[in-house]
């Protein structure tokens, strides 16, 4: 390969850049969600997530609420706008500067900071960049006058969303419930499907083609179709809405894809290995456990990841097959029905909920990935 070395390095530069661009394009939406999960509802509505790390100019409304004093024939209010009651909380960290101010909501930035303007009481007002202001009036001032201002505001991030989501009632219970649903619902279909896939790939029996076709056909059955009849069936069997019911349901729904993927993988395994094992007198069960399973590890691991992700993120099946009462709820149900319902439209909470529920699947993926790659490399040694 060395003869095209020069070409290769320029090509690899192009490759690097191309991959980098793809990864960035893939990440942008998620980054938006991630950043938003640290902002509160009002901030999300006020400015884009891409400016979140920078200072932005925001408009505020407050009152010049320092105590008025009488100076000569004028009534004067002097104070600092950042310390006024209505906005104090937003500026506790300091470091803000006022760009402009105004007296009416329609023109909140009518006057530049540091300039003097006439107010509606017949006196003047001046607000400086550091927030200090002087408001004068020939008449006694009753009630603190309104002032609007545009201020450079430092970026603000909050963990409140995470606190809300993580400390919601029974969230820990919901987490355990989710694991209780997902783990068996991942392992059982893989086990069953692996045996079936082997039979469909390497065993000879009448009706094999028909069975394969049926499996492919069943792939496309819309879940919604099966929910209610199966729920009725579970009731008749006495399973009702329970963990057993949801495992069986997930197993049934996940099987076609599992069989289809695993069979296709197993068919591609080298024929001579299996045939020589048969010649050596190995039974199908031995071939399966000693040869096929280890060789199929990459496929098994991939499917395990998919099935895990699917059951983890599932909402529909959980809603139908688990009781709706509190202590059996899984995380998705908890988030969708309990958190979002009462805080619908709160994008910060939504974003956080999405991130909390993504955390475990990502962890699983990154841990499994090591095995996945190892499995893949082993598979390539044909």
């Amino acid at each position: 390969m060395d003869n095209i070395a020069g070409q290769k390095s320029s090509l690899s530069l192009v490759t690097n850049i191309a991959v980098l661009l793809i990864v960035i394009a893939w990440l942008i939406p998620t980054v938006g969600l991630f950043v938003s999960s640290f902002r509160d509802r009002d901030q999300i509505a006020a400015s884009g997530w891409w400016v979140a790390p920078f200072s932005v100019e925001l408009t505020y409304r407050t009152r010049a609420d320092a105590t008025p004093t009488e100076q000569g024939n004028l009534f004067v209010i002097e104070g600092n706008i950042f310390e006024s009651e209505e906005v104090r909380e937003s500026f506790e960290d300091g470091e803000s500067s006022i760009a402009a101010y105004g007296l009416r909501g329609r023109e909140p930035g009518a006057f530049e900071a540091g300039t003097e303007a006439e107010n509606r009481d017949g006196g003047t007002i001046q607000v400086n960049a550091d927030g200090s202001y002087v408001y004068t009036s020939p008449e006694p001032i009753d009630g603190a006058p309104r002032v609007y201002f545009v201020a450079e505001t430092p970026p603000q991030f909050t963990l409140d969303n995470y606190r809300t989501v993580l400390t919601a009632d029974n969230m820990d219970r919901a987490f355990i419930n989710t694991l209780t649903v997902t783990i068996p619902a991942t392992i059982i279909p893989i086990l069953i499907a692996a045996f079936a896939a082997y039979a469909l790939a390497w065993m000879d029996f009448p009706g094999r083609g028909l069975l394969i076709a049926t499996v492919v056909g069943l792939l496309v059955v819309p879940l919604q179709l099966a929910l209610v009849p199966l729920l009725n069936l579970h009731n008749q069997l006495g399973i009702g809405q329970s963990f057993v019911g949801i495992w069986l349901a997930h197993t049934g729904f996940g099987l076609p894809l599992a069989i289809y993927l695993l069979r296709n993988y197993m068919v591609g395994l080298p024929r001579d290995i299996i045939e020589s094992a048969k010649v050596d007198g190995a039974t199908d069960f031995q071939i399966f456990t000693k040869i096929i399973l280890p060789l199929s590890f990459p496929a098994l691991a991939s499917f395990a990841i998919f099935q895990f992700l699917w059951t983890w993120n599932d909402l529909l099946v959980a809603k139908v097959f688990l009781p709706s009462a509190g202590d059996a709820a899984v995380m998705t149900v908890k988030i969708a029905d309990d958190l979002l319902g009462s805080r619908g439209g709160d994008w910060g909470i939504l974003a956080t909920a999405a991130f909390v529920s993504i955390a475990v699947p990502l962890l699983v993926f990154f841990t499994m990935q090591r095995y996945l790659v190892r499995g893949l490399l082993a598979g390539s040694v044909k």
Partner: protein, 449 residues
């Protein structure tokens, strides 16, 4: 007072065997204090003893609302000694259908839509309530007969009976605004629809945008528009026409309905009148759209929405509302559009029956209304107890209505009222002709009859 205390103490002692009840009951308002109707509570406590019973309830209330309903149910627990388990779900409508099919229905369910009650009643999933209960509602609720007829449905045998007990009502004919923005601009609260239209034109002339309208709501996108159309129907037609519309005795494509849709269009399809133009109407989430009232400069000045909407206002927003006025030229009085939730018995038990009886006591209403957004047609409650003047004013709108009508889309068959009516309104706002939208909706309706 001592006697009352003893009564509840006795109830507590009785329920202590239920383990859970012990220490769990922590009343928001101490029994006997304040201007509540404690007599009704004590009388009720004497009449019912359900120690050891468990009553399960599901409903659409989650989060803060769930806490509020639990605070009311605490009194039911302490009065009867029963244990109540309430669970709320955002997708209640779907869950209750599944639960009844799975035979895992709770004792009592709280329905936001009368249509669903009728649906489940016809399948025999609900237990009818007694004729005495219906009589009680007729006597004690403002416009009692209408609340009874709303919750009356045909059972599996075709026999009509009362299947729901209304509790907690929402008023929808409200326009929200920022008093300070109105004040600064010198706008007055319009008393008639003509004034409201004139005010909208005035705001446009001032170079501003009068309305914020958002129809977005995920799969339910379009529903806020149905409220608009219903409100306008009540302001342009006799209430009897509204009833005929709901029952499909006049077609959805009747000129009266098409006209109401077009009046709505004169607001929502007017690019000068709505924030962001009519394209934004269809895409803005209804929860996000009122935010424009409270920005500086204001993106809009008015927002028509039901009494629940302040939950979605930004923190510390200064807001107030006025009655969505009627046309002075139409002489239709002051009609009010509303909605409400009704308790239905999904799994009969002594506890479920007792709970319905509990809802008849004023105290069941007062505890909630003294805390937060809660309106009630119960005439026996002490209206001094409303948590705020805002609420009292809303209740006054409710009680002062010359006509009260329930949200039509909640009464129509769900394929219409929670289906094509929604999406049809989105198509209309997107530019389709009103008559053609109405025609399509009627076609669908004819099909399912």
């Amino acid at each position: 007072m001592k006697k009352m205390y003893l009564a509840s103490a006795a109830a507590l002692a009785l329920s202590a065997s239920g383990a859970l009840a012990d220490g769990h009951i922590n009343h928001v308002f101490a029994v006997g204090e304040g201007d509540f109707n404690w007599d009704s509570y004590n009388a009720y406590a004497e009449a019912f003893d359900l120690a050891g019973e468990t009553v399960t309830i599901t409903g659409p209330w989650t989060g803060a609302d769930a806490e509020l309903v639990n605070s009311v149910l605490d009194y039911f627990e302490s009065a009867t000694g029963a244990v109540v388990e309430y669970s709320g779900s955002d997708s209640f409508e779907q869950d209750i259908v599944i639960a009844t099919q799975a035979d895992s229905a709770p004792n009592v369910a709280v329905f936001p839509q009368p249509g669903l009650i009728a649906d489940l009643a016809s399948r025999g999933e609900l237990t009818p309530m007694s004729e005495e209960t219906a009589d009680w509602i007729r006597e004690n609720y403002a416009a009692g007969e209408s609340w009874v007829s709303l919750a009356t449905a045909a059972g599996p045998d075709g026999e009509e009976a009362l299947y729901g007990f209304f509790y907690k009502v929402d008023v929808k004919s409200l326009v929200w605004y920022s008093p300070e923005a109105f004040d600064e601009a010198g706008y007055d609260i319009p008393e008639t629809m003509e004034d409201l239209i004139a005010l909208s034109e005035q705001i446009v002339a001032d170079g501003e945008t009068p309305w914020c309208i958002g129809l977005g709501s995920g799969a339910a996108t379009g529903w806020p528009a149905t409220d608009w159309v219903e409100d306008i129907m009540l302001r342009t037609q006799d209430p009897s026409v509204y009833d005929q519309w709901v029952a499909n005795e006049i077609g959805f494509d009747d000129p009266a309905v098409v006209n109401a849709i077009e009046v709505f269009g004169s607001f929502a399809r007017n690019n000068d009148w709505v924030n962001g133009g009519s394209e934004a109407v269809a895409s803005t989430d209804f929860r996000d759209s009122p935010a424009g009232l409270f920005t500086f400069p204001a993106e809009c000045y008015m927002h028509r929405q039901a009494s629940f909407i302040p939950t979605f206002f930004p923190e510390d927003a200064d807001s107030d509302f006025f009655y969505f006025p009627a046309f002075a030229g139409e002489d239709l009085g002051s009609p009010v559009l509303g909605a409400g939730t009704a308790f239905g018995i999904t799994q009969d038990s002594a506890g479920a029956q007792a709970l319905i009886a509990f809802l008849q006591t004023p105290i069941a209403h007062e505890v909630w209304m003294a805390q937060s957004g809660f309106l009630t047609p119960h005439s026996g409650v002490n209206s001094d107890l409303f948590a705020s003047d805002t609420l009292r004013q809303m209740n006054d709108i409710l009680l002062g209505a010359t006509t009260f009508r329930f949200d039509a889309s909640d009464l129509m068959p769900s394929e219409i009222g929670q289906g094509i009516f929604w999406s049809g309104m989105v198509d209309y706002v997107g530019g389709e002709d009103a008559a053609s939208v109405a025609g399509r909706i009627q076609d669908r309706w004819s099909e399912i009859q």
